[in-house]
């Protein structure tokens, strides 16, 4: 069987995780860095974890949980010095209390009780791999002998068959702080992927990030050239989408089902919080693999989600009705064994999706939201930004992320003058707090808040050349990627479309209108799998757009993103965090 990248990743990740959980003996406790919980639960359910003998599961927090009855404590964390210092504190605490317990004070305990102090072993699994800095911190803390530090090499989280995410917040890091770590990590995970599915033979892309990614990838490939255990021949092709070439799309309001759920309900590592039926909210796994309803909904324009849900509900009812028609014992038996599990799954998932769709519908009915939406459409179509609307929204203390995103969009399209921008800056900090001065500064650095000094026709030209605005877009059975933003065809996806099937005209336009340098390696051809790398994050709507491209152009396309973004997450990322 041909190994798909998805299965290769899932298999490797689960192997890694099982190796991790198998370390140590006796009663085991697992302590996970909260930010990784999504990744871990995406790969392994609680049964998997229990199967490996883990009896206690907790999240890493400054409070030290009492794990003294466990023989092995396994920590899973990112290689972040602050987190490692916290773990070091925990271990010191545990060691100290073990010493106290074995002291003379506890010897008076009863006859039956086993020795009070369990000699504990500590393991630290660093995701995706431990660093020298981590080891140095532990060494300085004289804990290197106590803690067994190992790697948990999970780089890419397989969210769907055709969607992998590194879940590494990088949008801001890549542009402003010139920190290329995300690219480094992505390129090492692609090297790992290469050894499972065969080499990437052709690359297309454009832009500074794409270029530096390629430099890095080539260099690292040369440095780690290990002979592959099997002879892998295949044509895997890469398309590099440089986020700095298209900052506009992630700031727009996505209009696919998943895109909107992500915008309003915040999807983390493929999990979304849903109403737990009176109890506290629970995490629901969005996966096209397990969930037929989501599979139908995921890429739909939200306009057709309602009718689709209705249809699905009807079908489900009809299907369940068939049980009554089954009269003979064999029929019932057949129904129970063939259909029932599937139906039960659907019956469980349907109300959840209805709930999600309802909350999204409620959010997009909001009057201000519609004003923002309109402003976005006008901005893209006619290069004009409604300044009064922004003033008004700020006065009304409307969601700062949305306001900022709109201002940024205006700047990116090139219709905000310096004076106006200064005015907005003052009003913004007065409305939302002075600390947003820093937010503003960070967005400036990211190149999102740059005033236009001389009017340009850059955007207008680009819009025309790449057909970015599509009138009369079909949202049912879409034939153009513009359906994902109801009228706006994401620039990034248009670039992908071009690289999949280049024409002389678009090639000229792109090299004329977009910053370079171009990245071209090998003969791209038309055969083989295509991996579309979003350097700096992708939106779910873009993923849907790329899926449509794959379907219409007959290519096997997989999206690999450094993270999943939306305008809220981008803006929130620029804001001062208090942690």
């Amino acid at each position: 069987m041909k190994l798909t990248a998805f299965y290769a990743l899932v298999r490797d990740a689960r192997d890694q995780l099982s190796h991790c959980l198998e370390s140590g003996t006796g009663r085991k406790a697992l302590v996970i860095d909260k930010s990784l919980s999504g990744i871990i639960s995406r790969l392994a359910d609680s049964a998997f974890i229990k199967e490996h003998g883990v009896e206690r599961l907790s999240y890493l927090s400054p409070q030290v949980p009492d794990l003294s009855d466990c023989h092995s404590v396994i920590y899973i964390a990112r290689s972040d010095p602050n987190v490692v210092k916290l773990i070091a504190q925990h271990v010191h605490g545990a060691l100290a209390s073990a010493r106290d317990a074995s002291g003379p004070t506890s010897s008076s305990s009863g006859v039956h009780s086993p020795p009070v102090a369990v000699s504990q072993r500590f393991f630290l699994f660093c995701l995706p791999r431990s660093t020298l800095l981590v080891k140095k911190i532990l060494e300085d803390d004289s804990l290197l002998a106590e803690i067994d530090v190992q790697d948990l090499e999970i780089d890419l989280l397989p969210l769907e068959h055709d969607l992998f995410s590194m879940e590494y917040p990088s949008f801001h890091a890549l542009a402003p702080m010139r920190d290329s770590h995300a690219l480094y990590q992505l390129s090492s995970s692609l090297l790992a992927l290469e050894s499972a599915i065969g080499p990437f033979t052709a690359v297309r892309g454009r832009g500074p990030l794409a270029d530096s990614f390629m430099t890095m990838f080539t260099k690292m490939r040369a440095a780690h050239s290990h002979p592959s255990p099997v002879d892998l021949t295949g044509t895997n092709r890469l398309i590099l989408v440089d986020r700095t070439l298209d900052m506009i799309t992630p700031l727009m309001t996505q209009f696919t089902y998943t895109g909107l759920v992500d915008t309003f309900k915040d999807i983390v590592a493929g999990f979304v919080e849903v109403d737990g039926g009176g109890q506290r909210p629970r995490k629901f796994k969005l996966s096209m693999d397990d969930d037929n309803i989501y599979c139908e909904l995921a890429d739909l324009n939200f306009g057709v989600v309602g009718p689709t849900l209705q249809r699905l509900a009807k079908e489900l009812k009809a299907e369940s009705g068939k049980r009554k028609e089954a009269n003979t014992l064999t029929d019932i038996n057949k129904f129970v064994s063939d259909k029932l599990p599937e139906l039960q799954k659907l019956q469980e998932a349907l109300p959840i999706h209805i709930g999600l769709a309802e909350s999204v519908a409620k959010a997009i009915m909001d009057e201000d939201f519609n004003l923002v939406l309109q402003a976005q459409q006008v901005l893209l179509a006619s290069t004009e930004l409604d300044a009064d609307l922004i003033d008004e929204l700020m006065c009304r203390n409307y969601e700062p992320e949305a306001v900022l995103a709109l201002i940024c969009l205006g700047c990116l399209i090139g219709c905000v003058k310096e004076k106006q921008l200064d005015l907005w800056k003052r009003e913004f900090v007065q409305s939302y707090g002075f600390h947003h001065l820093v937010t503003w500064h960070r967005l400036e650095q990211a190149g999102l808040l740059t005033a236009t000094k001389t009017p340009t026709r850059q955007w207008a030209n680009l819009r025309k050349a790449l057909d970015l605005i599509v009138e009369d877009v079909r949202v049912e059975q879409p034939d153009d990627i513009a359906y994902t933003f109801t009228g706006y065809a994401p620039l990034s996806a248009r670039l992908v479309q071009h690289w999949l099937r280049p024409t002389a005209r678009t090639r000229d336009d792109i090299s004329r209108l977009l910053p370079g340098p171009p990245v071209e390696v090998g003969d791209f051809g038309t055969a083989g799998r295509v991996f579309v790398l979003f350097l700096g994050g992708a939106t779910y709507a873009e993923v849907s757009a790329v899926r449509l491209l794959g379907r219409t152009m007959g290519a096997d396309v997989t999206v690999v993103a450094t993270e999943m973004v939306n305008y809220r997450r981008i803006m929130a990322g620029a804001m001062v965090s208090l942690t």
Binding site: S79, P81, N82, T131, L132, L133, K136, A173, M177, R178, D179, S180, H181, L183, Y184, M216, K219, M220, A222, A223, H224, S225, H226, P227, D391, E392, M394, C395, R396, N397, D422, K425, R426, E427, V429, Q430, S431, Y432, G433, F434, H435, L437, V438, H441, V576, L578
Partner: protein, 741 residues
């Protein structure tokens, strides 16, 4: 041919043991019985030291009072001499590990592991042993055991994790005369077991347990290499071979009837699983499993060393090897054998004499379809043969017979594999190399193991040639690395560039065709340790993996180079590591100077410091005159500040920072307004506090934005304050109106 093949055979019933003098020894030693002598399991090395408990006389005189610890090759060449005159402890026992390290058990309860070349590893057997003293010790290729004078055993079960384990649960009140061991892999308990004959018992001690088996007056026991049999000498000098499982006697011999017996220091050793050797002062007796025996007179003291599939006998003049004659060889060469193999050999002999009988014989073989068996047997015998001439003749016979079997691919492959193996064996057995390796031993060792051994013995040229011949790419890289290390360590008065160029050229020549990459960093460490930092740095330039390169460069106090390399690797964590190192090793000013000299490192510093050391970032911005950035940093700090005072202080700092350039005038104004706002909020909170106890129910204005603040003041009826704040912070009229509406 057959007679030549039977040279040295000691016929023991249906079987035979071959006694072969392997090498004449070059050394000039006579008193072997006053020495500790130990031969390594492959026979390649001999360790020797003076036995302090025995009188030692030399014709030379006083000089030899301090006999060093010596390592000889199997041909008696002195390879290494380790001075022992300044050592406080004396050697109790010598032995070898299975990877050719000389083991010395000392009377201070320490154990030293000497590689043939290189520095020793010192292990301790623990305080208990040191306190009680060691009475006797046994060393075997995978471990050792000592019996303390207090009658307890301490065992090291493996050299890879040499943790001494005390077998405390059984104490011998009297020191047993002899004892032996069974390695852990051959016991049911999974630990090393010790067999100790005591009076009418044999005590079997394992780590957790012990068993006392009734046994009549045993003197000595020796377990066979595979632990299938025990060889026992009873106090009546009855030699017995017993099945280890059932204790059933397989063979028995009354030694007293054969030779003069002396219970003082006889040696007992196995020769494979087939025969047992007993050495008394003047004779050596071989007893086969079948009960057949043979006695050899001895004219000087000998030392027996049991190897896996043979037994070495060392005298002061020669190294002799006893090997069981294996089945294939036996079948081919036994007198009167009618095995197809023997017939084939016979046919060849007739053929060379141009006798017509050869045709009859061959036809007979072909008719009975036994040529294939004949060929396979002869080929196997060739593989086992020691003498190259004999090998050659056997191979020729095979080649002759192969004419009828040219379709047989397996036979062809076996033939070439045998030839290859024999070439390797003959090369290492050659006197100039001096490893008395049997075919079986090579099988156990593997080609890679052999090449490693040669490398350790510093036979780099042969090792390299073998690796080349056998296509062992990775082993080749290891050999070159080892050679390069030696080259670095022993080069004196050289030009750094020339040396490095020589090494790199050699490395590239031998790794050009393979994907295996050489670990240059390891070489660099060696060079650095050898006091050649310049060579080390140069070598590191060739290392391709920065994660190996960078830490070394830092260790070698070349942080600037390390920083550049880390930046080249794109690996953020490496860069951070170097920065942290630099920060802790340099004064702040120097640290900044270093970073600023390397502009690519600046963003990394900013990022690291932002998350982990904000004070450092502040200082950095000050030094680098990036006041606006510093202003933003203070604004950020203000938001994180926990007390009003701290917040005010940070905001004031921000104002000062922004005021340093005109460019940030707007930001300065915003910072000032923020300062005013926080002041105002603090004032209101204070007023509330002064006003009395009702504060708890009142909403406090802390953390509100300007707009919210004005709204709050209006809502709480503080109109004047609202107006004042509004004018102070220059809030546009329009906005307030919208809000209030």
């Amino acid at each position: 041919m057959a007679t030549m093949a039977r040279d040295g055979w000691i016929a023991l019933g249906e079987s035979a043991v071959c006694q072969r003098v392997v090498y004449d020894l070059d050394w000039d030693l006579s008193n072997l019985d006053a020495m500790h002598v130990a031969q390594s399991p492959t026979g390649a090395f001999i360790g020797m030291a003076r036995d302090d408990r025995k009188p030692y006389f030399t014709p030379g005189g006083a000089k030899s009072l301090h006999f060093p610890l010596c390592i000889y090759s199997a041909t008696g060449q002195l390879l290494r001499s380790i001075p022992w005159d300044r050592e406080p402890a004396s050697i109790l026992k010598l032995g070898w590990t299975d990877n050719d390290q000389l083991v010395a058990v000392l009377d201070d309860a320490s154990v030293r592991l000497y590689p043939v070349y290189g520095d020793p590893v010192v292990l301790s057997l623990g305080e208990e042993v040191a306190k009680n003293g060691i009475a006797s010790a046994r060393i075997w290729p995978t471990g050792l055991a000592v019996l303390t004078k207090s009658g307890q055993f301490t065992v090291i079960g493996s050299w890879s994790s040499p943790v001494p384990r005390n077998y405390l649960h059984y104490v011998f009140t009297e020191q047993p005369a002899s004892w032996t061991h069974v390695v852990a892999s051959n016991t049911i308990s999974g630990s090393v077991e010790l067999l100790v004959p005591v009076a009418n018992y044999l005590v079997v001690v394992s780590e957790m347990d012990h068993v006392e088996k009734p046994y009549s007056s045993l003197q000595t026991v020796q377990v066979s290499p595979q632990a299938n049999f025990w060889a026992c000498v009873l106090s009546s000098f009855m030699l017995e071979i017993r099945l280890a499982q059932t204790n059933q006697v397989v063979a028995r011999l009354d030694l007293k009837s054969v030779v003069e017996c002396d219970s003082n220091g006889f040696q007992l050793a196995w020769c494979g699983e087939d025969a047992v050797l007993v050495v008394f002062a003047e004779s050596l007796i071989i007893m086969h499993m079948s009960g057949q025996h043979f006695a050899i007179d001895l004219f000087e003291p000998v030392i027996l060393t049991e190897a896996h599939e043979c037994c070495f006998q060392l005298t002061s003049t020669e190294l002799t090897m006893f090997t069981p004659v294996l089945y294939a060889t036996m079948n081919v060469f036994k007198i009167g054998s009618t095995h197809p193999g023997a017939i084939l050999i016979d046919a060849i002999a007739h053929y060379s004499r141009k006798s017509a009988q050869s045709v009859d014989l061959l036809e007979g073989l072909l008719k009975d379809q036994q040529l294939r068996i004949a060929l396979a047997t002869c080929l196997e015998a060739a593989g086992q043969a020691w003498d190259p001439k004999l090998q050659h003749q056997l191979l020729q016979a095979v080649q002759f017979g192969r004419v009828w079997m040219d379709q047989d691919v397996t036979l062809r492959d076996e033939y070439s594999a045998t030839c290859q193996r024999l070439r390797v064996l003959n090369a290492v057995r050659n006197r100039s190399i001096g490893i008395p390796l049997t075919a079986l031993a090579l099988q156990r060792l593997g080609y890679v193991g052999l090449v490693r051994r040669l490398t350790r013995a510093r036979q780099h040229l042969l090792a390299h040639r073998l690796a080349e011949y056998l296509h062992l790419a990775h082993a080749k890289v290891e050999i070159v690395a080892d050679w390069a290390k030696l080259k670095i360590m022993h080069s004196q008065d050289f030009d750094v560039n020339v040396l490095v160029a020589t090494i790199v050229a050699r490395v590239q020549a031998s790794t050009a065709t393979v994907d295996a990459a050489l670990d240059y960093s390891e070489l660099a460490v060696a060079a650095y340790r050898a006091g050649q930092p310049a060579v080390a740095t140069k070598l590191l330039d060739h290392e391709r993996d920065p994660a190996r390169q960078v830490p070394l460069l830092m260790d070698m106090s070349q942080p600037q180079v390390a920083l550049v390399k880390a930046l080249d690797s794109f690996d953020r964590d490496l860069v951070h590591l170097v920065l942290v190192y630099l920060r802790s090793h340099l004064l702040l000013n120097e640290f900044f100077k270093t970073v600023l000299a390397c502009p690519r490192a600046i963003p990394y510093l900013e990022q690291y410091a932002r998350d982990h050391d904000r004070q450092l970032l502040r200082d950095f911005y000050s030094v680098d005159d990036r006041h606006v950035e510093r202003g933003y940093l203070h604004m950020e700090n203000a938001e994180r500040a926990e007390t009003v005072e701290a917040k005010l202080a940070e905001l004031r700092e921000a104002v000062t920072a922004f005021s340093s350039t005109r460019k940030s005038a707007a930001d300065q104004k915003i910072a000032e307004q923020a300062l005013d706002l926080v002041h105002e909020q603090a004032q209101i909170a204070k007023d509330h506090c002064d006003a009395g106890a009702s504060t708890a129910s009142l909403e406090l204005p802390e953390g509100k934005s300007v707009n919210d603040m004005i709204l709050y003041l209006i809502r709480t009826g503080q109109m004047t304050r609202a107006a004042k704040l509004k004018s102070k912070l220059q809030v546009p009229e329009k906005r307030r109106r919208t809000k209030v509406d």
